[in-house]
């Protein structure tokens, strides 16, 4: 247990912050408003290993520890959460399953491309009738010769509009004739793999979240990740990891909103003095700072467990639950502190406010996190 950042974590943070402030800060508002995915900035991020954060060096990644990876996502999201989302989904739920479940051939084939960011990844579980209830997936994958034929529609796919590689959860029939979900590696260009329009979202607007359609899409057998029927196992394990990323993203949003509020409260004069000198505003700021700090410690604790090889699912859920709720609260207070200006698109806190909400929804809603946490606590043996 170590509470002070080590030299490496300091440098990781400084580097990511410097990049975010020089490259993302100037465009964050505009790409949000016009729903632009900034390909030129993404191209620069590729060279700096943003897309291979935890991939081993021999696959071209940066081989970072989990706290470092969380810090990167936090710093990106502090400035531009939609790009933080792109990076965390790519690393946390698209690349991670390759590291955990892919065979050597799949790793050789895909990890270099993913780690270099040449290919952007997506993770696609959600369907119209399968949200919180991930077991209700209806997309099918029917075996045909050396391939599977996929049919169905996925929705709310982060990076959907730009991904080159998507992990698709679809039902396969097992030898015992039971239907079980399996995970398929689908590449851009596979026949019958189509993309829908970009969603017009409340927040995270610079991320090309879209639907994906599969119309008799032929996927070679060797693109099955893990074994047939491994879908649930892969999904749950991946989401445990993904939640660390979403927590980091929420934390970054909270941090950004808090900093903006502190600055504004010092500058804004009403009643002939800065509003920061009003006790009510001070209380807001104290709460924002305290809860953001608590969120950060909780998140790093989950990271530490993960790197130690210990079970971390429950802690990841706690961190996700808490960080996202702090993000929502802090961004709402940030708008409050900014008054009418905070409700205007000219100020960043308005964007933070919109972006924060979804961290309580995706990769398991807060309700689902509580379910996971409670299940884990209640399942512990009574001594």
């Amino acid at each position: 247990m170590q509470f002070n950042p080590c030299m490496k974590h300091k440098l990781i943070r400084a580097s990511a912050r410097h990049f975010a402030e020089t490259e993302l800060a100037p465009i964050a508002a505009e790409i949000d408003q016009h729903r632009i995915f900034p390909r030129d900035v993404i191209a620069r991020m590729r060279q700096l290993n943003y897309f291979g954060l935890q991939v081993p060096a021999h696959y071209g990644g940066a081989a970072l520890d989990s706290i470092s990876a969380a810090i990167v996502v936090e710093e990106l999201s502090r400035v531009c959460a939609a790009i933080g989302l792109c990076v965390t989904v790519h690393n946390g739920v698209a690349v991670y399953p390759f590291l955990q479940f892919a065979d050597d051939r799949q790793k050789e084939k895909y990890l270099f491309r993913l780690a270099s960011g040449e290919d952007i990844g997506a993770f696609s579980l959600t369907e119209a009738n399968a949200g919180s209830d991930a077991g209700s997936v209806e997309t099918t994958a029917v075996r045909n010769g050396g391939s599977y034929i996929l049919n169905g529609t996925k929705i709310f796919v982060t990076n959907g509009g730009v991904c080159n590689i998507a992990l698709i959860f679809a039902l396969t029939s097992l030898p015992d004739a039971k239907l079980q979900s399996s995970v398929f590696i689908v590449e851009d260009g596979f026949e019958g793999f189509l993309r829908g329009e970009l969603e017009d979202l409340c927040g995270m607007r610079a991320n090309p979240v879209s639907s994906l359609f599969f119309e008799d899409c032929r996927v070679p057998e060797e693109n099955l990740l893990g074994k047939p029927g491994d879908g649930m196992k892969i999904g749950l394990s991946t989401l445990d990891n993904g939640r660390i990323g979403v927590a980091a993203q929420a934390l970054g949003i909270a941090q950004g909103a808090m900093e903006a509020s502190v600055k504004y409260a010092r500058e804004r004069q009403q009643f002939k003095k800065p509003i920061a000198s009003q006790q009510t505003i001070q209380n807001y700021i104290a709460d924002m700072a305290t809860e953001t700090m608590a969120a950060r410690l909780m998140l790093y604790r989950a990271c530490e467990l993960k790197d130690a090889g210990a079970p971390f699912g429950c802690e990841a859920s706690m961190a996700k639950l808490y960080c996202s709720s702090v993000a929502s609260k802090v961004t709402s207070l940030a708008v409050q502190i900014h008054g009418g200006y905070g409700y205007s698109k000219e100020y960043d806190v308005e964007r933070y406010f919109r972006d924060a909400k979804v961290t309580e929804i995706y990769e398991g809603t807060s309700e689902i996190q509580r379910m996971v946490i409670a299940r884990s606590i209640l399942s512990q043996p009574i001594l």
Partner: protein, 332 residues
């Protein structure tokens, strides 16, 4: 007999601007010399330097040490180092002041090192104790803080001094000084850094974010034509034009001129603010402006209260007059 105390000023004259600093230093040296009973000595080296000998005499030097030789025609740090090292070693001055021009800031550190003494950089204040200790005030941390620096045990005490800080003494061509015309010492080193080319530079291209002078206009400029004249002032000062939001919305200026919360954050050394009320969304972009001149017909406007200099006037009128007056006064 005690040794005559002496404060030296290095004659830096390559362009008008550098020469001005030398004059400002002479004036400050005269002040300091008064406190400790020292003479003020200007060192002038180069070729065809009679003009500078006269000028430095007229501006307060008691003594001039000059070396005039064709081999000194162009500025050479290494030549000057060798000459100064010799002169200082022979005559042992108490203090050497050098303008913090680009030349001075490259030359002075090497000289101090050779003389094995201390040096403070880019001073904005100089004081002296009756005992002769030079208190050198230099900016640090981007000018946010000031440091007081002294060289206690070693002599001479050396400082480079920022241009524009001290006021020169009006010239007096009746003044006289002891002018020592010294021969070029033998054995001057061949410079190891050879100047291959040099030419006067044209203005460096800049953007509003890094411009040192910005002329901002607001609704108080009245109309687009008045607003356009701001660029004339900016041009004279080598600066850029900024605008408030209403002005951008009215189409008097492009969006990339917008200064403030929703626009550019600027950090000019000098900011002119014409007809701007000073709304927080605008002033949020001015965090680091060093010296603010506001022009407004309303003396109570926030911008006027924030300013270093607040001119109560019609913005367009004042602008026209300022341009006219500046054109009369600017020379190169």
């Amino acid at each position: 007999m005690t040794k005559q105390k002496s404060i030296w000023v290095f004659g830096d004259y390559r362009n008008y601007f550098q020469n001005r600093v030398t004059l400002q230093l002479l004036s400050k040296a005269v002040d300091l010399a008064g406190v400790i009973g020292a003479e003020v000595c200007a060192v002038v080296v180069g070729h065809n330097i009679e003009e500078w000998i006269m000028e430095y005499t007229a501006h307060g030097a008691d003594r001039i040490l000059s070396i005039d030789h064709p081999s000194l025609t162009s500025y050479s740090t290494e030549h000057y180092l060798a000459l100064m090292q010799q002169l200082v070693t022979q005559r042992d001055p108490d203090i050497i002041l050098i303008g913090a021009t680009d030349f001075g800031r490259e030359f002075a550190p090497r000289l101090a090192k050779r003389l094995q003494t201390g040096l403070s950089a880019d001073c904005v204040g100089l004081d002296i104790t009756p005992e002769g200790l030079l208190i050198q005030t230099a900016p640090s941390f981007g000018g946010n803080m000031l440091a007081e620096i002294v060289t206690e045990m070693h002599r001479p005490q050396m400082a480079t001094v920022r241009p524009g800080i001290f006021k020169e003494i009006p010239h007096d061509y009746e003044r006289t000084a002891i002018v020592e015309r010294l021969p070029l010492p033998s054995g001057l080193p061949v410079p190891r850094a050879r100047v291959i080319e040099y030419e006067r530079a044209v203005q460096r291209e800049h953007t509003i974010e890094n411009a040192t002078v910005i002329v901002c206009g607001g609704r108080g400029m009245g109309n687009k034509n008045n607003f356009k004249r701001l660029s004339e002032l900016a041009g004279l000062l080598g600066g850029d034009v900024g605008a408030t939001r209403p002005v951008v919305y009215a189409g008097w200026a492009g969006h990339n001129a917008l200064v403030g919360q929703a626009g550019k954050h600027i950090k000019p050394k000098i900011l002119f603010s014409f007809g701007i009320s000073g709304a927080i969304q605008h002033t949020a972009g001015l965090g680091e402006a060093n010296f603010i001149v506001a022009v407004n017909k309303n003396p109570q406007a926030t911008m006027m209260k924030m300013a270093d200099v607040a001119v109560t006037a019609d913005a367009g009128d004042f602008l026209n007059n300022l341009i006219r007056e500046l054109k009369k006064r600017i020379r190169d």
